[in-house]
Symmetry: C2
Subunit: 127 residues, 2 copies
């Protein structure tokens, strides 16, 4: 971990922090967003820290557990960090489902915030 | 389609173009990248247009078909477009597999290029 590039350490740290908060103290996720942040959650578009926080607090899920299968990170040409997570989650008594989530992180006033986030369950039509 | 925002039209058009080329004329994918482009393919990090093109041409796959389950797009604070694809693919005679892929698009000299891309098969440990 100490030998990995800084952007990889920051991306990895963000991902760990995000899912810890999501599972244990979801209201604190608000600190990760700014007024310009965008979230696309299962195709629904949500703009801004307040609306994003409200959405994440009102998913109709009491207990959720995430297992991260893989996480990848890259620096961008605009000095941001792009992170992609592939994993599985278990929400309340539902069956285990695959999910796909990405984050674009930007440093603003010496803090890394999430400007862009997308989430999709890996549900396909197995016709 | 005509009523959707420009960034959504560009992202949607890029995704359609990418998979068409991937299936029919993979060498032409080179036109989508620049010297600074980064690709993370199943965790392997590849830098630059030439190395990325070489990787995509040497996957050991002759025939591939993609089915896109969902694609989402967002503008970023740096005037880029972030796109996320969830889908299924069939490579040669392998079984159908889920995949996750993301693209960060940037306008350079009036052309949209891919500066960042990540790909993962949706393979979890179903222990």
């Amino acid at each position: 971990m100490q030998d990995s590039p800084l952007w990889e350490q920051i991306g990895t740290g963000f991902v760990r922090h995000y899912y810890q908060l999501f599972q244990n103290d979801r209201a604190k996720l608000a600190d990760l967003y700014i007024a310009e942040s965008l979230l696309t959650w299962e195709g629904e578009k949500i703009c801004g820290k307040d609306a994003i926080t409200k959405k994440l607090l009102n998913l109709g899920i009491k207990k959720i557990g995430h297992t991260i299968t893989a996480h990848d990170h890259q620096p961008t040409t605009d000095s941001c960090i792009l992170s992609m997570v592939v994993g599985q989650l278990k929400a309340d008594n539902d069956q285990i489902m695959g999910f796909h989530q990405i984050f674009l992180l930007k440093e603003i006033n010496s803090a890394w915030v999430c400007t862009n986030e997308m989430f999709r369950l890996a549900l396909h039509n197995f016709a």
